[in-house]
Every structure is written in C-alpha cells, then in structure tokens.
Subunit: 307 residues, 2 copies
C-alpha cells in the first residue's frame, strides 16, 4: 500500500563529535521517505527552493519516491544548523531559516489521491489538518509533532490529534502534551485526545507502543522495541523520522495493520533509526539494502528475545 | 545454589510524590536478599545497630534468609534520608549517617563458606575485596558499586573488578568508570578491567547485558531487558538492588549459568526491580509470591517478543 508524506525537505548543517557537514539534504519528509521506501511506495508533499536541483531530486528518485508533490518555489530551502557536541542525544539549534517553508501551502497531486496511508510529519498543525482533510480516503493516518506546537499551538494540534490513528512522539513531548511525568499516565491522557496507537520514542533506549486491548483502559497494551547499542553514533539527525519511516513503511507493506504487524513495525522503526545514526545526514539510508535491514531486524530479535 | 551477599542493612527515610515514610528497613543487602530469596537460599553479611531488633530480623526470617552473618554492634544502623520530588528517577540525598557501618569489618560465618555464588553489594571496595578473597571457593561473583567509589577510590575498585565475573552498574556509572560517553565503548572498556559480564541498568528503560561471544571483541554480545511501564512509581529506592537480587538469584537457581540463563536472569532482574517500585521500601517484596513473579515475567515476554 502506498504512503503519502507531508513535511519538510531541507538542508541541515550539522556538527557532532564525529565531524561537521555543511548543507546535507535533510528534513523530516526526506528521512521518512527514504526509510519508508524500502518497504512500500512513497509519495512526498513538500516545498523546496532554487537550491534544490536535479542532484537532490536524484536522491529521491534512486529510491523510487514519487516527487510530483515537491513544489518548487522561488527562494531557498528550509535551513537548520545545529550541533550535538555536549550530548549526542540532544540537538542544540544554532540557526533556523524557514525560507520557502514559511509560506508552505501543501498541494496534493491528483495522482496521490488514492494513497492508502498518510504520514503528517512535524509541521504546523494547521497544515497537517488541511492535508488530512484533503485526503479523506486514507485508511491509516500517523503523525508527529514537537514541543513548539505542543506549547504554543495547542488548540490547532488538538484538532490534528482527533484525526490521527497513530501519533509518534518522544518522551519529553508525551509528558509535555499530557502535562504528566509518568509515561503510562501520560500515554493514556494522550490517547484520550484521539490516537488509537501511541509510539513514544526513547532515543538510545528504544521506543514503546501503547494501544488498547478493547477490554481495559486506553493504552492498556504495551510493546517495547529496543534501540541498537551503537558503538559510534555519527549523527542522530533524522533518527526519529527514519524510525517513523521504517515503522509506517513496514505497516503499509502488510495486508492488514494487525497487532503482530504493529510489533514488527516497531522493530523496523528501530532498525531504520539505528541505520540513520551511522553516517551523516541521509548517507547511510542512501546506501542501504533491504538485506541489511532484514539482517539488523534479526539482530534486534536476538537482542531482545529469550529464545 | 546458595548466595552470600555482603552489603548494607539500613534505615531509609524516603519522600516521593506518593508520600513519606520514616525509617523503613532498607539497604542494598536487604533489597538484594529479599529479591533473591524467591529463587534460592540467601545468606547475608552486614552490620546493624541496637535499633535493629526481632521485628526487623523477622522480615529476613519470613523469607528464609540466613542472618547469622548480620553482626550486632553498639550504636545505630546506617541511616539514609532522601527524596525523589523533582524527578522520580533521581534520588536527592538529604542525610547519610554511617553509624555502625563506619567500622564495618565483614565477618564470614563458617556456615557460609560453602556458598556457590557471592554478591558484593555497593560498599567500600576494600571490604568487597576482603570478602571476595575470604571466599575463594565461590563459582560466580557479582558486584555493584557507585560514583563515589569510582571517583575517589578508583585503585581499590580496580582491584575488586579484577575478581568479578559480573558487574552491575547504571548508565552514569558505566560512563564514568570508562570515561566514555558511548555506552558500547564504555562497556568494552569496563569489561577490559575484569568482569566477563556487564549489566548496565537504564532505570525506567530497562537494562543491557554485555558479554562476549569469544569470537569477536569483548562485549560483542548484547541482550536488552525492558523495564515495566509502571502507572505509578511509588518509591524507586532499592529497585537496582532488587534487580540484582532477581538477576543473581535466578542465575543461582539454574544448573549452569548458560547464555540462556543469563537472558532469563535479566528479565527476572527487571521483574523484581519493577515490583520494588510499587510500594514504599521493601513493602512489596515482603508481600510478593512466586506466582506473581512468574506472571510478571510472562508480561515482560509479551512486552518484548514479536510472537
């Protein structure tokens, strides 16, 4: 089944203890699409500037990603500059230039209308909602958000949450959204806002899926996927979006989103997140093969299973 | 197989968001013994003061723990006062009174000499080493330590590490001991100091076992056990020691410490740690049944296994 993703396609200038890269192709929609493309057909909706040319387009094309929804606008791409020097798990933002992203009005190509799954990457919830409403036929909708929207755009975000099947956020975002420091209580509160499935990402400690058995309280079923103990985290940029791409891409590749498929999707999410960290920017995702993905899936199973 | 544990038997005055308790029976050896007692015979070496009477002794006796190695000295028991008000995962110490513990000279009862396993809980590494050397016949030795010993008593600690089969520490301690922020690199560095098995505890995110395949580099095999997503952490005091008790107790209950036994031991460690948090002090461990433990083991399997 095909996935449409709406989000940022951007440039990142990144410094980590492993080195520095200027203007890597990045953005949530880029990482998501590359990761998901190993599992299913992906279609992107984004806006880029004059500094996005055939070379960048080729990165998507090499993975058979449909780029007809990438709008070219006069100006420059979204630019983020950040570092992970003090703490590899915590980005420090030095500069954010919205550029063409400031006036982003997502337009959905007619060819995307029959998409089965929709992923609303971390953008203004007003835009997320508009895209969601423009694609009423999708079977499963997942989304991401961040502290800025939770804190300063809560009413718009709450409207988005009502229309989500799956929300993927990190620990701090879950606690902030629920105003509750206990993860289980926070998860229940977040699920009461709409999503039937909640994935809380714990960075190097993996991720937890909360869902409902239908018999007990919301979020009474949990599943925990590990993260890969990595000897060297070169660049964690995009790991969360790559998790989302692996997770949702795998789910879209399955005949039905059964509980078992969700469990495997959590593992594939962790697998893709772990690969993303192994090189700067999207370098590792660009070079990856499906065989490597399945091999690491097997490693994750070994890492967690008793027998 | 029987375990001898040496460590603190103490009183804790604890404040958490769930309330306050004055002078609960605590200490690493207490939590460890109670947790391990569900799996095997446990013998304690510790020192207590005049404020430790038959009522406290009964807590050990109820779990068939051998207390002949608990020395009664004039004075008062070790006392710790702390709170977890800002962050349930981070204890804030208000007061530490060593009391009789200041002059602790572990004495090993003759009846303990045939113990199969030895656990050196978090005490002065000079004492840990002395106990280790006094029990040359044990088959497997595990130990714990803390930032204070790592920072200010490093040479003595390094001597202890040489004699350990298993070291159980938390993330921050592993990184501090190795002077390396990457967990995999830190684990390898710590294992080069002696222990063939390293358990790194991640608090609410579970724990990772590092060991060696014998084919690659030290610590090239990993196993990750989850922690239980708990709706209410009443009091995390002793969770790490309860983990150690469940882990080592289960291992001692098995005919051989095989890789498979170590994996199950990680799960039982997490199980016991999760129970410890559900009530103040040792309350939950005192009321626990083996059936509840195995039921939670099953929940942990469900939480992590794909099928």
């Amino acid at each position: 089944m095909s996935i449409t993703v709406v989000g940022s396609v951007a440039y990142d200038s990144i410094e980590t203890p492993a080195g520095r890269r200027e203007r890597c192709l990045g953005g949530a929609a880029t990482y998501f699409s590359l990761a998901a493309s190993f599992f299913t057909d992906v279609r992107v909706i984004a806006v880029v500037g004059d500094d996005f040319g055939p070379e960048q387009e080729a990165i998507f094309k090499a993975r058979n990603i449909d780029t007809r929804g990438i709008e070219h606008a006069p100006g420059r791409c979204f630019l983020w500059e950040g570092s992970y020097l003090d703490d590899i798990n915590q980005a420090k933002t030095h500069l954010t230039e919205l550029n063409v992203f400031a006036c982003f009005e997502p337009k959905i190509p007619a060819a995307y209308a029959d998409s089965d799954f929709l992923f609303l990457a971390n953008i203004d919830p007003v835009l997320q909602r508009r895209v969601r409403e423009s694609m009423p036929g999708v079977k499963l909708v997942a989304g991401d958000t961040m502290n800025y929207w939770i804190k300063d755009h809560r009413p718009a975000l709450l409207e988005v949450l009502k229309g989500l099947d799956v929300l993927l956020i990190n620990d701090a975002e879950a606690r902030m959204l629920a105003a509750n420091n206990n993860l289980v209580q926070a998860a229940r509160a977040v699920m009461a806002l709409g999503p039937r499935f909640l994935v809380v990402k714990h960075g190097e400690y993996g991720a937890t899926l909360f869902h409902s058995s239908g018999k007990g309280r919301a979020g009474d079923r949990t599943f925990r996927a590990p993260a890969m103990p990595l000897e060297a985290v070169i660049d964690p940029t995009g790991a969360g979006d790559s998790f989302a791409g692996g997770f949702f891409g795998y789910l879209a590749s399955q005949p039905e989103p059964t509980p078992g498929a969700f469990r495997c999707a959590m593992f594939y999410g962790s697998v893709m997140g772990s690969f993303a960290c192994e090189r700067f920017g999207t370098e590792r995702l660009q070079q990856l093969t499906r065989a490597e993905i399945d091999e690491r899936f097997h490693v994750f199973r070994e890492l967690t299973h008793l027998d």
